[in-house]
C-alpha cells in the first residue's frame, strides 16, 4: 500500500479518521479498493466521480440485490460516487459504525421511493429483490406484506415511519451482523 500513502496528506487522513468509523489503515485499504475499480481514472484525479456502473463492479455490491439503491443513497450527486462517497459507504458498513447509524441508512436503502415512509410498494420491492429468481405468488406476497405490517406498524397507518422501523429493527439481534461489508 506504499503508493496510496502519498496520495493523502496527514491532515486529510486525520480528517477522514475523525469523520468516519475507520482507522487510517482501513481508509487506505478502502482507497485501494476504490482505485481497483477504475485504476486509470483514479490515478489521474483522486476526486474523480466514478459512474455507478463501475461502482457496482465491486464484489459485495455485484451480488447484492439492493446495489442500485445503495449507490443511490450514498452518492451525493446522484449520478456517480466520488471517493468520499465511497468512504462514507464503507464507513457505515464497517464494524465500527454504531447501530443507530446503520439503522438510519438501512431505512434509506429500503425506502425506494424516497418519501421517508416504507409503504406497501416499498415492501413489495424489497421482497421481490430478495427472492430473486423465484417469485412469490400474489397471494403469498399479500399475506407476507400483511404479516410484516402487523408486526411492525404500531399506529396502523399502513406505512412504516422511521420511528417504527427503528423501533422494530433495533430488537433484531442479527441486524448489525448482516448489515456490513467485511474489510
Amino acid at each position: 500500500m506504499g503508493g496510496s500513502q502519498s496520495v493523502f496528506t496527514e491532515e486529510e487522513l486525520d480528517d477522514y479518521q475523525t469523520l468516519t468509523y475507520l482507522s487510517k489503515k482501513e481508509i487506505l485499504h478502502v482507497f485501494k479498493r476504490f482505485k481497483s475499480l477504475a485504476p486509470g481514472l483514479v490515478d489521474a484525479n483522486k476526486n474523480v466521480k466514478l459512474p455507478l456502473s463501475k461502482i457496482t463492479e465491486m464484489p459485495e455490491l455485484k451480488v447484492n440485490p439492493f446495489r442500485d439503491q445503495i449507490c443511490k443513497v450514498f452518492s451525493s450527486s446522484g449520478d456517480g460516487m466520488t471517493f468520499e462517497d465511497f468512504l462514507d459507504m464503507m464507513s457505515v458498513f464497517s464494524d465500527g459504525a454504531p447501530k443507530n447509524v446503520k439503522v438510519e441508512y438501512a431505512f434509506r436503502v429500503y425506502d425506494f421511493d424516497g418519501d421517508d415512509l416504507i409503504s406497501d410498494t416499498d415492501l413489495q420491492n424489497v421482497i421481490e429483490k430478495l427472492t430473486g429468481a423465484n417469485q412469490l405468488s400474489e397471494a403469498d406476497m399479500q399475506q407476507l406484506i400483511e404479516n410484516i405490517m402487523e408486526e411492525a406498524d404500531l399506529d396502523d397507518d399502513k406505512t412504516l415511519s422511521f420511528a417504527e422501523f427503528e423501533h422494530v429493527i433495533s430488537k433484531a439481534p442479527d441486524f448489525v451482523n448482516s448489515f456490513r461489508f467485511r474489510m
Binding site: 459485495e60 440485490p65 427472492t131 403469498d140 397507518d157 442479527d174 467485511r182
Partner: protein
C-alpha cells in the same frame, strides 16, 4: 371535489391550518420538540372523503395576532391527546449531554436540503453554548450525522470555529488530557489489529458461505486466543522455574537423567521420553527452586496458585462472554411481539456475501423460508390432534429417551472396561501390554463412540418428528453433549478411584491419558475432514448423483467445546497441555479452512447464528464448570502419589495451603486473629446476608426496569393513536368548518369544553367521543 377547492378551504379555515401545522410540528417524541424540528415534509394524509392532503411544513406563514391563541389552544390540545393520559410517566424534559445527543439520530430525509441541515447545526450550536462539551463530543455528534462526508466536514468546521470561548487553565488541562486519551484510543485501536489474525481467511469464508460457517471459525479463533494467556501463565510460573531447577539443582542436571530417549512415537502416545519432563505433573519438584542465590521459589505453592489463577481467568472471561451474548440476543431482542417476518425480510440478506453462487443460494433459501413460514402458519391451524396420535407420539418420545439413556450407560461401561483392561496396563510394571495399541485403545474407542452414536441419535430424531427443526437441533446438541459428559465423567471416576490406588505416579498417568485423548481427537477430526468432505468431493466429480458435503457447523463447534473442556480437565496434571491444544487448533483451522472452500457447498438451510452462539458459549461455560468441579475434587479429596510430584507426603494437594495458613497463624498473632475472625460463623453469615441483600436489590431494580419498559411500550402504542386522533379531529373540524366563523381559537376552545369530563382512557373510545363532541360543538356557538 377538486383539490384546489380543498386547498382554498384550507387557507380560509384557520383551525384546519393550525391543526395541519400542529400535526407537522409534533413528532412522536415529546422531549425534542423544542430542539428538533420534524422533517416529515413529504408525508401525505388521506382524509375520510378520499382527498389527499399534503401538510405544508412549518415554513408556512402564521398570522402574528393569532399566535397567542394558537399556542394556548395547542397546549390544551396536547393535554387531551391519548398518549398524555398516562399520568404515571414523568414529563420533565431532561437536558441530555452532547454525547447523548449524538447517539440519537437526526432523521434527515433523502431529499434533505441545506435549510434543514442548517437548522440542525443551529440546534447543535445552541447546545454547545449551553452545555460544556469537549471536542470529542462534537466529533462524535458530527460523525453520527447521517449525511455525506463533505457536508459533515463543513459542519465540523462551522462548529469548531464557534467554540471561541475563553478557556480557563483547568479547562485547558482537561482538554489536553482528553486529547491524550483520544490519541491512546486510536493507538489501541491500531494495536488491536494484531489480534485480527486470519482476517483475510475469514473474509474469504464469509464471502463464499455467509455468517453461519464463518461463526465456527470465529469461535475457533476466540478459543485459541483464550488459550494463549493460559499458556503464558503456566509457562511463566511453572515451566520456566522447573527448567531452571533441572539445570541447576537436579542430579544429574540437564536431560542426562532421563531414562528414555526420544523416538518419534512419543508425539502420539505422550509417554516414554515425555514422562519425566515438564510435560507432566510428576516431574515437578516439591523443593524450592534457587536459581538466584537466596531467592527461593517454592514450587508447591506456585503450582496450586497458578492453577487457581488460570481457572479464575477462564471463569471471568467465560462468564463475561456468556452474559454479553445472552444480553444481546435474549434481553435486547426480547419482547412480547415476535418478529419472524420482519426479521426475515429486513435482516435476511447477508451483505458480506461476495460470490455469485452464495448469493443465488441465499435468495433461494430466503424464498424457501418465506414459503415455509407462510405454510406453517396454516398447517398449525389445521392440525387436529387425535387422542391416539397424541399417545403414540408421547410413547415414542419416551422410548427414544430410554434408548438414549441406555446408550449413554453402555458407552460409559465400555469406557470403563477399556480403561481398566488396557490403558492402565501400560503404567503397571508387572503386566504385559502391547506398546502402542494399549495406551491408545481408550481414546480411539471414545472417539469412535462419539462418531457413531450421534448418528443413532439423528435417526431417532428424524423418527420423533419434531414440530420445528430448531427443536430437533437443540435436542440433538443436548444428547451429543450428554454423551461426551458421561464418558468424561466415567473416565474421571476411573482415574480418581482406581488408577489413584493402583499406580505409583497416577497424576502423570492422567496427564498422559488426556494428552492421548487430545491427539486422537485431532486425528479423528482430520480424518472426518478427509473422508466426509474431500472424498465426497472426488466422488461428486465422478458421479453426478452424489453431492458435495455441507459444512456441519453445529457438529464441529461442539467438537471444539469438547476439546477445550479436555484442556481444562488436564491443565492441572499436564501444564504444557495448552501448547498442544494451541497447535491443534491452528492445524484444525487451516485444514478446515481449505477444506471448506474447496470441498463444501453452501447450505440451503437458514442458520440462526445469534441464538446458536449463545448456546455454544453456554455449553462451553457448563463444561468449564464441570471440569473445575472434577479437578477440584482431585485437589481437595484425592491423595497425591507418594513417589512423584510437588505434593508427595501430603494427604491432599490442598493440605499445602492449610499448612501454610497454620504456619502464618503460629508465627503471627495478628494473622491468627484475622483468620479466626474471617472463619467465624458470625462473619460468614453476615457476608451471606449481605450478598443476599445485594441480590435482592438488583432483582428489584430489574423488575422495576421491566415494568418501566412495559409502560414505555404502552406509551409508544398510544402515541401512535395521537396521529389518528388528530386526523380525525382535523377531518371533523374540516367537515364542519365551512359553517364556522373565521375565528379559529374559540371553536377549538368550545370543542374542548364540550368534551367534559375529558375522558382519561385513550384509544378509539376517546377519539370517538372527541369526534362526537366536535359534531355537537358547532351547535353551541
Amino acid at each position: 371535489m377538486a383539490s384546489e377547492n380543498n386547498l382554498s378551504t384550507f387557507q380560509d379555515n384557520g383551525v384546519s391550518r393550525r391543526l395541519v401545522a400542529a400535526n407537522a410540528q409534533y413528532s412522536l417524541s415529546d422531549e425534542e420538540d423544542n430542539l428538533t424540528p420534524n422533517h416529515h415534509s413529504g408525508t401525505q394524509y388521506m382524509l375520510s372523503n378520499g382527498d389527499i392532503v399534503t401538510p405544508v411544513s412549518q415554513g408556512m406563514v402564521i398570522d402574528e395576532m393569532e399566535e397567542s391563541i394558537f399556542d394556548q389552544s395547542m397546549v390544551e390540545l396536547r393535554k387531551e391527546l391519548p398518549s398524555r393520559q398516562l399520568d404515571t410517566l414523568t414529563e420533565s424534559v431532561t437536558w441530555t449531554s452532547m454525547r447523548k445527543r449524538a447517539t440519537s439520530i437526526y432523521h434527515i430525509t433523502m431529499t434533505s436540503n441545506q435549510r434543514q441541515e442548517d437548522e440542525i447545526v443551529e440546534s447543535l450550536e445552541r447546545e454547545i453554548d449551553l452545555v460544556d462539551s469537549s471536542p470529542q463530543d462534537i466529533d462524535e455528534a458530527v460523525r453520527t450525522m447521517p449525511t455525506t462526508l463533505s457536508r459533515k466536514r463543513s459542519i465540523k468546521r462551522k462548529l469548531s470555529s464557534r467554540r471561541k470561548r475563553k478557556l480557563t487553565r483547568t479547562k485547558l488541562v482537561k482538554y489536553w488530557f482528553a486529547m491524550l486519551w483520544q490519541q491512546t484510543k486510536y493507538q489501541l485501536r491500531k494495536w488491536r489489529r494484531i489480534f485480527d489474525l486470519w482476517s483475510s481467511h475469514l473474509t474469504v469464508i464469509e464471502g463464499c458461505f455467509g455468517t453461519s460457517v464463518a461463526s465456527y471459525f470465529i469461535f475457533l479463533k476466540w478459543v485459541l486466543l483464550m488459550n494463549i494467556p493460559i499458556f503464558l501463565l503456566t509457562f511463566g510460573f511453572l515451566v520456566i522455574p522447573q527448567i531452571l531447577y533441572r539445570f541447576h539443582q537436579l542430579e544429574p542436571s540437564g536431560y542426562a537423567g532421563n531414562s528414555e530417549s526420544f523416538t518419534g512415537i512419543e508425539l502420539l502416545t505422550g509417554s516414554g521420553f515425555f514422562t519425566n519432563t515438564e510435560m507432566y505433573y510428576g516431574f515437578y519438584t516439591d523443593k524450592a527452586v534457587e536459581a538466584v542465590t537466596n531467592l527461593e521459589y517454592k514450587m508447591k505453592y506456585a503450582y496450586l496458585l497458578t492453577c487457581g489463577g488460570y481457572y479464575l481467568f477462564c471463569l471471568i472471561l467465560l462468564g463475561y462472554s456468556y452474559l454479553k451474548s445472552y444480553r444481546k440476543y435474549y434481553i435486547d431482542a426480547g419482547g412480547t411481539i415476535s418478529l419472524y417476518y420482519f426479521n426475515l425480510v429486513y435482516c435476511g440478506w447477508d451483505y458480506g456475501i461476495k460470490s455469485h453462487e452464495a448469493s443465488v443460494l441465499k435468495q433461494s433459501s430466503i424464498y424457501q423460508e418465506i414459503k415455509e413460514y407462510l405454510a406453517g402458519k396454516n398447517v398449525n391451524q389445521r392440525r387436529n390432534k387425535s387422542h391416539q396420535a397424541f399417545c403414540n407420539k408421547w410413547a415414542f418420545i419416551i422410548l427414544a429417551w430410554a434408548v438414549v439413556v441406555s446408550l449413554l450407560a453402555a458407552s460409559g461401561y465400555i469406557t470403563y472396561t477399556v480403561s481398566n483392561k488396557l490403558s492402565i496396563k501400560t503404567a503397571l510394571d508387572n503386566s504385559t501390554s502391547i506398546p502402542v495399541v494399549s495406551p491408545l485403545a481408550m481414546p480411539v474407542v471414545l472417539s469412535s463412540i462419539q462418531l457413531f452414536v450421534p448418528m443413532i441419535f439423528t435417526f431417532l430424531e428424524t423418527s420423533e418428528n419434531y414440530s420445528q427443526p430448531k427443536y430437533e437441533l437443540y435436542v440433538h446438541m443436548f444428547r451429543d453433549m450428554a454423551l461426551k459428559a458421561t464418558m468424561l465423567a466415567v473416565l474421571v471416576y476411573f482415574w480418581f478411584k482406581i488408577a489413584a490406588s493402583k499406580l505409583e505416579c497416577w497424576e502423570t498417568f492422567v496427564g498422559e491419558e488426556i494428552y492421548r485423548l487430545v491427539i486422537v481427537d485431532l486425528i479423528f477430526t482430520l480424518g472426518y475432514s478427509f473422508f466426509m468432505e474431500f472424498c465426497r468431493k472426488l466422488f461428486s466429480l465422478k458421479w453426478r448423483s452424489i453431492e458435495r458435503a455441507e459444512f456441519a457447523t453445529g457438529r464441529h463447534t461442539l467438537e471444539l467445546v469438547y476439546s477445550q473442556s479436555l484442556c481444562w480437565l488436564g491443565l492441572f496434571y499436564s501444564p504444557l497441555l495448552p501448547v498442544v491444544v494451541i497447535l491443534k487448533l491452528i492445524i484444525i483451522f487451516y485444514i478446515k479452512r481449505f477444506s471448506v472452500v474447496q470441498n463444501c457447498r453452501p447450505s440451503l438451510k437458514p442458520w440462526r447464528a445469534s441464538r446458536t452462539h449463545t448456546i455454544f458459549v453456554g455449553y462451553l461455560f457448563i463444561f468449564f464448570i464441570l471440569s473445575c468441579v472434577a479437578v477440584g475434587f482431585g485437589i481437595f479429596l484425592v491423595k497425591p502419589s507418594t513417589a512423584c510430584g510437588p505434593y508427595k507426603n501430603y494427604d491432599t494437594s490442598y493440605q499445602v495451603m492449610t499448612d501454610l495458613i497454620d504456619k502464618w497463624k503460629a508465627d503471627n498473632h495478628i494473622v491468627k486473629e484475622i483468620f479466626s475472625f474471617i472463619s467465624s460463623p458470625g462473619f460468614i453469615s453476615g457476608l451471606l446476608v449481605f450478598l443476599g441483600m445485594v441480590l435482592y436489590y438488583t432483582r428489584t431494580v430489574m423488575l422495576s426496569h421491566r415494568e418501566r419498559v412495559e409502560q414505555f411500550k404502552m406509551q409508544l402504542a398510544s402515541e401512535g393513536k395521537d396521529k389518528k386522533f388528530l386526523l380525525n379531529l382535523l377531518n371533523q373540524v374540516r367537515v364542519r368548518g365551512r359553517r364556522v366563523s373565521k375565528h379559529p381559537g374559540p371553536t377549538l376552545h368550545k370543542t374542548m369544553e364540550a368534551i367534559s369530563p375529558a375522558q382519561k382512557a385513550g384509544g378509539k373510545v376517546f377519539v370517538k367521543s372527541v369526534a362526537e363532541g366536535a359534531l355537537i360543538a358547532p351547535s353551541n356557538i
